[in-house]
């Protein structure tokens, strides 16, 4: 028997999913061990293997894929534990990062701080203060050398940076993505003059238009690389000590897996790994179910994360903001708002308004019902008061929640100031947070030019399935899917992930295009990808290669990514662009007479990491439900407590629809099915809830 293992290391919990070659999945979780993440990983694996009835060591030996998504890189940025980095750039442009296109002063702030204008500041740069050196050289927008590289100045800069003891030098020159010769020469000079100093050049790390983002990306990579190499090597070594029989794989921001020793050279590509895995898992399930447009929603303790799948593909963004630093790497786009189980409810003393979030009690102290010292009522407390979450079966009964404390806190802090009863106050908290989530999803879907009602809604994470029945109804979604692995969906996505490479190359061109130039860029990208696969010990012939290009109309700024089909020719590409433009911005919006421009070419290449079955089944069998098992409890629906059946996820009769209201529980999640909704499982043991 062989296995694939997916691990998602979060701030509080480490989640684990094991899938065997027959497609059967087991899952469990454990507490994260921040000092040595591999401890928590092994604990979670052991817990999971307990369900399989075999030793964790045996799974480690026999696993084909061992994939990990980790926040360790982001933690290094948060705690500013990175290398001493110096920067060599084009003379006259030394301040590009400090200027930060002005907007750096307000980008990436939490919602509540966005309009606190007097408190704005730019983030501390990632280089050592005083370690930026401009050198004489200049390339223009056609890639032509306007001023040649002054090597004496480069040597002087290296000598300066050595003197201030940098570990690493980032090199980012203007237009280097079009003509990298100057950057490459600077790298060679550094390697000769200071071989002990690591070098990152922007034309390799992020060969795309935009010097601010490209420089920041290169700096961040230089900042993280030495520490990442240590972290990954240590994790791999520890897992090998436990018997890991294959190489360690890590989740990248683009949703694909990469060998740890590859990612340690480009750690900046692995920063957004966490919530990405969930979307990857949904993509796989949605494809199997022939669902092309999907909203992925993950509600956890502090935030509500949402991603979109359109025509079977996740929406990607080419830029993201990491701890207020804007960088340029392809990542699956996930939008977050501060709405989670820990979001705190308050009544404004002055206006009497009821607000929920964005402040969160997080996991420490957590909701009042956790009994860890939290005193402000949260969304989870409201769910407990309303009977939606059973205080005794939380986290499979491993943690009993304090119902009385939740009631007391909502009564005193919300109900009394508003002059209403406790249940109404709790219901109000839930209604507000559900409406905020529905509002976010609506804005996200309409921004793609689509009707939100045309999407299937997936819900996972600790709290997603509790709330989805309500926000799906507000959005008008007719089908909800709560996947089998909902509590550990990111780990599931990692377990079934593919190897993936995203390569980009900016090569601005204006219509009429030179077909040969287009072909050259594409060939160059494919050849680079094939080379990468070979270097990773994989067979390039097993990979798929999809190319696309960002296009826009001249004088306009909306860029649309257009797939380049083999043999389409430039007319085909332009037609594809116009169609897609009108699809997004409305019929007649295309400004065709202005002519078009191509900017950045992209290649996505994927290669299967393991052979697994498409149909993932639950680990447990599906015994016929016994009527005696049916429980009931009071749950608040439509203004009153209603005696509501409570069923175990595993006890649901296959292919038989159950009308709401009903609560469906598994070890780590609770699905609330509202009156008027109905639930059934599909043949892969995912729960389907129809809302109308």
């Amino acid at each position: 028997m062989t296995y694939t293992v997916g691990i998602d290391v979060g701030g509080t919990f480490t989640d684990c999913v094991v899938v065997d070659q027959a497609g059967t999945a087991w899952m469990d979780k454990s507490f994260t061990t921040p000092e040595d993440l591999s401890e928590g990983i092994i604990d979670a694996l052991r817990n999971t293997c307990g369900h399989l009835g075999i030793e964790a060591e045996k799974v480690l030996q026999e696993c084909q894929v061992f994939g990990v998504g980790t926040t360790s890189l982001i933690n290094r940025v948060v705690s500013r534990r990175g290398a001493r980095v110096g920067l060599i750039t084009t003379k006259g442009h030394e301040d590009a990062v400090l200027i930060g296109r002005v907007v750096a002063r307000s980008e990436g702030l939490a919602e509540q701080n966005r309009f606190d204008v007097a408190a704005w500041n730019k983030p501390e740069p990632l280089f050592v203060p005083g370690s930026v050196r401009g050198v004489t050289e200049r390339i223009d927008s056609l890639g032509t050398v306007v001023a040649s590289l002054n090597e004496a100045e480069v040597l002087a800069a290296i000598s300066d940076l050595k003197a201030i003891r940098v570990d690493s030098i980032a090199v980012a020159l203007l237009w280097s993505f079009l003509n990298p010769t100057h950057e490459q020469r600077v790298r060679d000079l550094i390697n000769q003059a200071a071989p002990e100093i690591a070098v990152n050049i922007s034309s390799e790390i992020s060969p795309s238009l935009g010097e601010f983002e490209r420089t920041n990306t290169t700096l961040l990579n230089a900042y993280l690389a030495p520490g990442a190499a240590n972290d990954f090597a240590q994790m791999e070594r520890r897992l090998q000590e436990y018997g890991l029989g294959c190489g360690l794989l890590l989740m990248q921001s683009n949703g694909g897996l990469a060998w740890a020793n590859e990612l340690q050279r480009k750690p900046v590509y692995g920063l957004a790994a966490g919530p990405i895995g969930g979307v990857v898992g949904v993509q796989k399930l949605a494809r199997a179910a022939s669902q092309s447009n999907v909203v992925c929603t993950d509600m956890g303790g502090t935030s509500f994360d949402a991603g979109l799948i359109i025509d079977g593909q996740p929406i990607f963004s080419s830029q993201s903001i990491i701890e207020r630093h804007r960088i340029q790497v392809p990542s699956i786009e996930v939008t977050s708002i501060g709405a989670g189980g820990g979001s705190i409810a308050t009544v404004d003393e002055l206006t009497g308004e009821l607000h929920v979030g964005p402040r969160s009690a997080g996991s420490t102290p957590g909701p009042v019902c956790y009994g860890n010292g939290g005193i402000e009522p949260t969304v989870t407390d409201a769910n407990v008061v309303l009977g939606r979450i059973d205080p005794r079966s939380f986290w499979g009964g491993r943690r009993e929640l304090d119902w009385h404390a939740a009631v007391e806190s909502i009564q005193r802090r919300i109900a009394e100031p508003l002059g209403i009863d406790c249940q109404s106050a709790a219901a109000g908290i839930i209604d507000i947070v559900d409406a905020r989530m529905a509002d976010l999803l609506r804005t996200m879907t309409i921004a793609t030019g689509r009707d939100p009602r045309d999407f299937v809604l997936y819900a996972y994470g600790g709290a997603g399935p509790v709330h989805v029945g309500s926000y799906a109804r507000q959005l008008g979604a007719s089908l909800i899917v709560v996947p089998l692995c909902a509590p550990v969906q990111s780990a599931f996505g990692i377990a079934i992930g593919n190897f993936s490479r995203h390569l980009s190359q900016s090569q601005p061109m204006k219509e009429p295009y030179d077909s040969e130039s287009i072909d050259n860029v594409i060939e160059q990208l494919i050849s680079q990808a094939r080379h990468d696969w070979e270097s990773a010990g994989l067979d390039p012939n097993l990979a798929t290669y999809q190319t696309s290009v960002d296009m826009r109309f001249s004088y306009q700024v909306h860029e649309i990514r257009v797939p380049i089909e083999a043999g389409a020719g430039q007319i085909g590409i332009i037609d594809g662009f116009v169609d897609k433009y009108e699809d997004s911005f409305g019929s007649g919006a295309a400004f065709r007479s202005a002519g078009t421009e191509m900017l950045t070419f992209h290649l996505v290449s994927t290669l299967p990491a393991a052979n697994y079955k498409h149909s993932i089944r639950s680990a447990e069998g599906r015994p016929a439900p016994s009527p005696g098992k049916l429980r009931k409890r009071d749950v608040f629906f439509e203004g009153q407590m209603v005696q509501t059946p409570v069923m175990n996820f595993m006890d649901l009769p296959p292919d038989q629809s159950i009308d709401g209201p009903v609560i469906i529980e598994s070890a780590n999640t609770t699905v609330v099915v509202h009156p008027g909704q109905s639930a059934m499982t599909d043949h892969n043991a995912n729960l389907l809830v129809r809302t109308q």
Binding site: V102, D140, G428
Partner: protein
């Protein structure tokens, strides 16, 4: 459930409040998606609003608030005049760019639309965009040399552009025929219509679900809630009067005139009274502020300052203010005064004066962390047009210098280097993006050394840029329209010094091309040959092959005596490259070298010598000194301050280094410092305009009345 404040239960209110904000976001998405123009998509110079039936802007979109306010004034006008003829019906939309009715200038245009639930009008939606050109004598926004609005783009008072859902092609034809950019304006018009349609439909859906009365109540309660919150903040601050004087330098008819915005702000209980009387008479054209724009910029300044505590609801803010201004002044002009540069001219003088008075009030109320000297000074701006070798046309507005200014010092920290403004989404494009789009090559774009106004907390460093034409023979048209070149435009606080002024200049016939070919890149203009030309701040010129365009955007003004600034912080700026070793000594009394850092004993001596030299400086006698506020004690030596133990001196511009020394040539202003006669610490600095220098329309009495404090 019913809340104490009546009407609607708090849960429904909170849900609908957020839903209305979401509807405004959806409107903003439609606006930006359909337009796609660089002004909209790169500079975010557009916005949307949801308004109540009285035309008050209740919820505004995430970008520049003045567009949303303009929608409100348009609704007022339409509701008061059009009820019978041409009628206001479901499916109608109205267009205007008339500054005497709605927008701050003619290149801003708005479309507003009534929202009906069955037959009842429950509110309005609106959307505004800054269009590329709205006609007039000069391409772009500014009508150079205009002597009245008749010389500028002709304003269109509100007209019914959409009737019962149909775009009226006759009206559209009229609107587009006024502009040099009809195709882009046509798309922008459709964008505004699309945004209104989206928002309208969504509000109608809410009315169906919750009832029109509930939606009305939510609108009302949002406004009263913001009003309550703002009044509550104000009520905690002691009552008082604060005043300020800000300047606008405007070159017209071969001379630069200085326009003075004089504000006295009184806070009583939970209300703010703004009195602009005594401000300069209106100019013939270009720079004037109409009444809607005056109100809009007062509200905009308050929303920036109080945004930390109150949601963006102009109607709520409007309820706590009263504004008094004299008709016929440049801050409340009379027809036919021209207004074509309305968003970045007189309105900024208003914005600066309001920000300054409110910040002084916040300091008095024990909230210095919320106070700032200024968000952004007057802007150096230029519009350009060129034809490439292949016949491709280029045109645009160069905003790097304006948006890249430094913000002013704050009450508890420095200003932000190259980070001006109060709108979260405003940005400048990358150098590479601009070089791809436009026919030029940047020689440098960097933080301007010694540009920050010195102070205990310093202002933010400004920006400086140099560029040359590239890929074209010449940039055939450059229209300059800058303010803030003749005087510092943001007032420093409590003895801080002003930041640098703006500058736009040329080095004609330089040897830069030759040097680059030889592998030399230098930013020292002295090594580049050619002739330095400082053009008049308003005018039209061109940039030929070997000419260099230089632009500097101002630094922010400082707060508190620079001699009290922590030496380590001063040296941090030296290491970061925003302060020269010479300026560290001249402005802050810090002696040191790049090799060995601060020389502490020499610094002590230098600071003491500078205090002494202030005490020995000849006394200066400006006419207005007695009207400025006097702190109770000196912040340094704690001596009680009164008229007999303070010194008033002139601080020579020449001493202030890069960015201000040029003012010494103009002799328009003096920089006045008031200091403690015991220890020499500055507690007040201000620009002083002697009476013999002309300010159009200002009488001797008005000038004598005094300058803020």
């Amino acid at each position: 459930m019913t809340s104490a404040s009546g009407g609607i239960d708090p849960v429904t209110f909170e849900i609908l409040r957020h839903r209305l904000i979401t509807i405004a976001r959806e409107g903003a998405i439609a606006l930006r998606n359909v337009s796609g123009s660089p002004t909209v998509a790169l500079s975010n110079d557009c916005n949307v609003a949801l308004l109540n039936d009285s035309g008050e802007a209740v919820i505004v979109g995430p970008t520049i608030v003045t567009h949303a306010l303009a929608c409100g004034y348009a609704c007022d006008y339409i509701a008061s005049k059009f009820e019978e003829n041409p009628g206001i019906a479901s499916g109608d939309m109205f267009l205007t760019n008339d500054p005497y009715v709605s927008t701050p200038h003619q290149t801003c245009s708005v479309v507003v639309s009534p929202v009906f639930s069955e037959d009842e009008r429950i509110g309005w939606t609106g959307a505004g965009i800054h269009v590329a050109d709205a006609g007039g004598s000069t391409p772009g926004q500014v009508a150079l040399g205009a002597q009245s609005i008749w010389d500028e783009g002709p304003p269109l008072p509100p007209v019914k552009i959409v009737q019962k859902g149909e775009l009226r092609s006759d009206i559209e034809g009229d609107w587009l025929s006024r502009s040099r950019t009809p195709a882009q304006n046509a798309i922008d018009l459709r964008a505004k219509i699309a945004a209104n349609t989206v928002m309208q439909r969504r509000i109608e859906e809410l009315c169906k679900r919750y009832g029109a009365q509930t939606i009305r109540s939510v609108f009302d309660r949002i406004v009263t809630s913001v009003e309550m919150q703002l009044r509550s903040i104000l009520s905690d601050i002691p009552d008082g009067v604060w005043s300020e004087e800000t300047y606008l330098d405007y070159f017209d008819q071969d001379q630069t005139d200085l326009y003075v915005c004089r504000l006295s702000m009184t806070k009583r209980g939970g209300t703010l009274f703004f009195d602009f009387s005594g401000s300069s008479k209106q100019a013939p054209g270009v720079i004037n502020v109409t009444r809607p724009a005056l109100e809009g910029y007062v509200i905009r300044a308050l929303m920036a300052t109080f945004g930390y505590a109150i949601p963006p609801c102009p109607a709520g803010v409007a309820r706590v203010i009263e504004i008094d201004a004299e008709k016929g002044t440049f801050v409340d002009c009379s027809f036919p005064a021209g207004t074509s540069k309305g968003t970045t001219s007189g309105t900024y003088a208003v914005f600066h004066a309001v920000t300054s008075c409110v910040s002084k009030m916040l300091v008095a109320g024990g909230m210095p962390e919320r106070a700032i000297t200024t968000w952004r000074a007057h802007m150096p701006l230029l519009d350009f047009a060129a034809i490439g070798v292949t016949g491709r046309r280029f045109a645009g507005v160069f905003t790097d210098g304006g948006l890249g200014q430094g913000s002013g010092a704050r009450g508890t920290q420095d200003g932000i280097d190259t980070g001006s403004g109060s709108e979260p989404e405003v940005t400048v494009p990358n150098v590479e993006t601009n070089e791809l789009r436009y026919p030029w090559l940047y020689l440098f774009r960097r933080q301007a050394i010694d540009s920050a106004g010195a102070g205990f907390f310093r202002g933010g460093a400004g920006i400086e840029i140099a560029l040359i034409p590239h890929g074209v023979e010449e940039i055939g048209s450059i229209v300059l329209h800058s303010h803030g070149t003749e005087c510092p435009s943001s007032p420093p606080f409590e003895g801080g010094l002003p930041g640098s002024v703006n500058e736009v200049s040329f080095l004609r016939g330089s040897s830069i091309m030759k040097l680059m070919k030889q592998g030399v890149l230098t930013s020292a203009f002295s090594e580049l040959g050619g002739t330095r030309e400082i053009p008049k701040p308003f005018g039209r010129t061109r940039l030929e092959g070997s000419d260099i365009l230089y632009c500097r955007g101002a630094g922010g003004s400082g707060w508190g005596d620079p001699l009290d600034r922590d030496p380590e912080m001063v040296w941090g700026d030296v290491v970061a490259g925003t302060l020269s070793v010479n300026a560290a000594k001249a402005l802050y009394g810090i002696v040191g070298s790049t090799e060995s850092g601060i020389d502490a004993p020499a610094t002590r001596l230098e600071r003491s010598a500078q205090l002494q030299s202030r005490l020995c400086a000849p006394l200066f006698k400006p006419k207005n000194v007695l009207t400025r506020a006097l702190p109770a004690i000196c912040s340094g030596c704690k001596t009680p301050l009164h008229d007999s133990n303070i010194h008033v001196i002139e601080i020579p511009w020449e001493q202030l280094g890069n960015g201000l020394s040029s003012l010494a040539d103009h002799k328009q202003f003096h920089l006045v410092g008031r200091l403690c006669g015991t220890c020499g610490r500055l507690f007040d600095t201000y620009s002083y305009l002697p009476t013999e220098r002309g300010v159009p329309g200002l009488t001797e009495t008005q000038l004598d009345r005094g300058f803020g404090g």
